[in-house]
């Protein structure tokens, strides 16, 4: 009974966020156009290897789609006072935060699915595994949305959230095998790469579309993304609880 109420509240919070914030033109353009523009720049440099960029493009789309709003939404609502309305409702703090994360993850999943559908029109993927792809998209969306939520609860002002989000996102693009394969990076940089969730997201997507065995085994990537999401969710709840006091 309590669980059912909690799940319903999570659903309604995420639905409200999706309607209010996510499917708005600026957010859609940021979530889709930016990764496309980056991929196009690399494609113009090397048109033959475009298919190899698809997992990275997908990973980037999820990263920017899931974090674009998620990284600021809680900070914004706390500033406006409306976040308190959620805290006053008979829902746990973890439930409220989960509602926020699910909204961002859903948006990340939808925009990346749109990119995937367009990719299928132009490319044929040698090792396409729909179940692996679905799981990769879901867990990547959750991981990046949770990362956005963590940024959002960790700071006080919206501009701080945006700055912090970019501080994480932009280096990740170049260190996570999106454009440059991780195995070709210098060893000290490689260590950093293996700490970043985008590396595991791109590897899981590559395993779902192009290769049977990548640099990181598929299930390791999946477990890493799940563990990263759980750890950051738990940390976000603790930080938020502390901040609210």
């Amino acid at each position: 009974m309590i669980l059912s109420k909690e799940l319903k509240a999570i659903y309604f919070i995420s639905l409200k966020d999706i309607k209010s914030y996510y499917f708005k033109p600026p957010n859609i353009s940021w979530g889709i156009i930016f990764p496309f523009a980056m991929a196009l720049a690399f494609y113009l440099r090397n048109p033959i290897g475009m298919i190899d960029l698809i997992p990275g493009l997908l990973g980037m789309t999820i990263l920017f789609g899931a974090t674009s709003m998620e990284a600021v939404v809680i900070t914004f609502e706390r500033r406006m006072g409306s976040f308190e309305r959620l805290l006053l409702a008979p829902v746990s703090l973890g439930g409220v935060l989960m509602g926020k994360i699910v909204g961002g993850a859903f948006f990340g999943f939808i925009v990346s699915t749109a990119v995937m559908v367009v990719s299928f029109l132009f490319f044929s993927f040698s090792r396409f595994n729909p179940l692996f792809l679905f799981l990769s998209l879901i867990l990547s969306s959750l991981a990046f949305s949770t990362m956005g939520a963590f940024i959002s609860v960790a700071v006080k002002e919206v501009f701080e959230a945006q700055t912090l989000a970019n501080l994480f996102r932009f280096p990740m693009i170049f260190l996570s095998g999106v454009f440059i394969p991780v195995e070709t990076l210098p060893s000290p940089v490689k260590v950093i790469s293996y700490c970043l969730p985008l590396t595991y997201s791109v590897e899981a997507l590559r395993n779902s579309l192009l290769v049977s065995e990548g640099v990181i085994p598929y299930w390791i990537s999946i477990i890493f993304l799940a563990a990263f999401s759980l750890a950051l969710y738990w940390l976000s709840v603790i930080v938020l609880r502390k901040k609210l006091e």
């Binding site: 209010s20 006072g81 409306s82 309305r85 959620l86 805290l87 006053l88 006091e245």
Partner: protein, 325 residues
């Protein structure tokens, strides 16, 4: 007897770091009562409300709302209460109806009841013409009304109102007070925090006076006023603009306990029966021309000043919203 209580607070303490915001407070609120929490800014009113609503945890002590422990059964407490914070804080981008429906969803109001309840509240708060208007485009008074409506979506037995008329114009404040009375007539327990003494006097059946985190009196407005009746109050008007030192001169008169001034009228509280003749002679000697003088009944404000020992002028400034904190 226990079941008659909507709120029970025992030895509640709240520290923010080293700052003691709430200091071992005890009180009980009966079901169906309008209970006022009266005190100056920074007295601990909002901190207490935040603890009772489950938004903040107490450092010590315990409290129950409708029989549910605020720390162990927080979600149950939240389901029993409606909260109207000091600032109207609904979602700017949602319309009046959407805001109420969303609140209904959060509080688990059944789907078929949700729309009906939202429409009822829109009507009750006279927002029919603004049903599909986003919250951001409402006037201040309408925002306040919708925020109260949002707190009532799930028909809570207890409603917390934190400075409900703060920043509202006279007309909106009056309408809101009528709404609070209406709620109370429906059997809803109202916990009202305010620094507006007149508002507490008009609405509350009992009042707790809180200063610097401590409750220093809990009683009905009438009983609180009676506590100053032993003092005799005299009000007099003067013809000419008062000399700047007149306040001080009055305070120096033997037997005077309190003095306040509003325009050309002075209110003076005596410890005993006012010595009319000698007091008038004293004023004449100071060059003051008295145009009228009469005895007055003490107000809740007089009681508050006496109980708290706070400066009347400071309370007046707070009442007019000139002092933050």
């Amino acid at each position: 007897m226990e079941n008659d209580m909507a709120i029970r607070v025992e030895g509640l303490v709240k520290y923010y770091g080293k700052l003691l915001a709430v200091d071992h407070i005890h009180f009980q609120v009966k079901k169906g009562e309008v209970f006022g929490f009266l005190g100056p800014n920074g007295a601990g009113k909002t901190t207490t409300i935040r603890i009772l609503c489950g938004l903040s945890t107490p450092s010590e002590g315990r409290a129950e709302v409708m029989g549910f422990d605020i720390q162990r059964q927080t979600t149950d407490v939240k389901a029993q209460i409606g909260v109207v914070p000091e600032s109207s804080n609904l979602y700017d981008e949602l319309t009046c109806l959407e805001n109420l429906l969303f609140m209904g969803q959060l509080y688990g109001v059944a789907g078929n009841q949700r729309v009906k309840r939202a429409e009822e509240l829109i009507q009750l708060f006279r927002l029919e013409g603004k049903r599909d208007t986003p919250f951001s485009r409402l006037s201040k008074g309408m925002k306040r009304n919708l925020t109260i409506a949002a707190a009532l979506v799930h028909v809570p037995p207890v409603v917390f109102l934190d400075e409900p008329t703060s920043g509202l114009d006279v007309m909106n404040a009056r309408n809101l007070r009528a709404m609070i009375r209406h709620l109370n007539q429906q059997g809803v327990t109202v916990f009202l925090t305010t620094h507006n003494i007149e508002e507490a006097n008009l609405l509350c059946q009992r009042i707790a006076v809180i200063v610097k985190g401590k409750i220093i009196a809990v009683d009905s407005p009438e009983a609180l006023k009676k506590s100053v009746e032993r003092e005799s109050m005299v009000e007099f008007a003067v013809e000419d603009p008062s000399p700047p030192t007149l306040m001080e001169s009055i305070k120096e008169f033997d037997g005077v306990k309190t003095v306040s001034v509003k325009r050309d009228r002075f209110a003076v509280g005596f410890k005993e029966k006012p010595p009319w003749e000698s007091f008038l002679a004293y004023l004449r000697a100071k060059g003051v021309s008295v145009t009228s003088i009469n005895s007055i009944q003490p107000t809740l404000e007089d009681a508050f000043v006496k109980i708290t020992g706070l400066d009347r002028e400071i309370m007046m400034m707070e009442k007019e919203g000139k002092k933050g904190g």
